[in-house]
Symmetry: C2
């Protein structure tokens, strides 16, 4: 019903995750009424990101320089390695400013239902790093979900024999949350992980 | 925290309507892990749409040929004109297959709160068409909202003196809807517009 060019744009936008037919239509009309300069900016951003970004050959974070800024930064703690599933988890940790060591991005979590086993994650590369570099602490920073826990268990079995100190981030009540809104699983983690004051 | 190129892409995506920081991040990662061919298709679709699409000089629908397919189609009813606010309303009507006449796209609705008055709509162009072509019926097809009603009232005052038959689409219960879920306004429209059976 729409002009063919418009239908094609709506179809391409519909392929994006979380974009249904109505959102695709709204985005398409937004793009049509935007200035040529703004559309150009969007197109350049997509093209450049696709062209320039790559995985860091050391930690597998997404980067436009290789090795990435974090791996190259000599002022960071070289003795500590934090294992995360995805680049966005790394970014969430960096935002907190709490951690100053190195990272290893697995590229996902073990999830048999999605056909993702340990062989799909960057575990071989992790073991190579552990053999080469002298880390004194390894921190597991996976989301407390079934997949995150499965990944933690797998990594624990793999790393513990190496004799390196192995920790995981704390699970418990999120800061600012109302006690009576916490779900049962979080509440039991909060009790399980209680500390003396 | 992200590589600069990635931050730039996320920032551009965040400007799109209905796309918040989390969605922008998800879209950016989706684009990064898509094949180069798929990204190319998206970029071409955006660029072509922006470059080729224009408003039909007769009815102001969005089109890649001028006049548009509907205006050019000689098998359509030339005596009937349906007035809609936006191209997407036209598409919704075309989908129903019920209407076979011509269209006029106003480009919006009267909405003083958004600073949109009759002077911002294609009303001058509408009057020119009405003076030139011999329409025997004009159908107002605005959404039954405050803005749609304001536009209908304005157009009615303008068109009625011309002596052309003027109708508006029926408001009432949507087909397939459960009676007891209908809101009060729809229910009163349904009663107001009741017909003898």
């Amino acid at each position: 019903m729409y002009a063919e060019t418009l239908t094609k744009l709506i179809d391409e936008l519909k392929k994006l995750p979380g974009i249904g037919p109505k959102s695709a239509q709204r985005l398409a009309f937004y793009i049509l009424q935007s200035s040529a300069g703004d559309v150009e900016k969007l197109v350049v951003a997509i093209t450049e990101a696709k062209g320039k970004l790559t995985h860091c050959s050391v930690c597998f974070n997404i980067t436009d320089m290789n090795p990435c800024k974090i791996c190259e930064n000599s002022s960071r703690d070289h003795s500590s390695l934090c294992i995360v599933a995805e680049p966005k988890d790394l970014v969430a940790i960096e935002r907190s400013g709490e951690y100053k060591g190195k990272y290893h991005v697995l590229g996902g979590r073990i999830s048999p239902l999605d056909g993702l086993g340990p062989e799909n994650l960057r575990i071989k590369e992790l073991l190579e790093r552990l053999a080469k570099d002298n880390f004194t602490e390894i921190i597991l920073a996976n989301s407390p979900t079934a997949e995150g826990e499965a990944t933690n268990i797998y990594l624990t079995r793999l790393i513990r024999p190496l004799g390196i100190k192995l920790t995981r981030v704390a699970y418990g009540l999120p800061v600012g949350a109302d006690m009576d809104y916490a779900d049962e699983a979080t509440m039991s983690k909060a009790f399980e992980g209680r500390r003396e004051v």
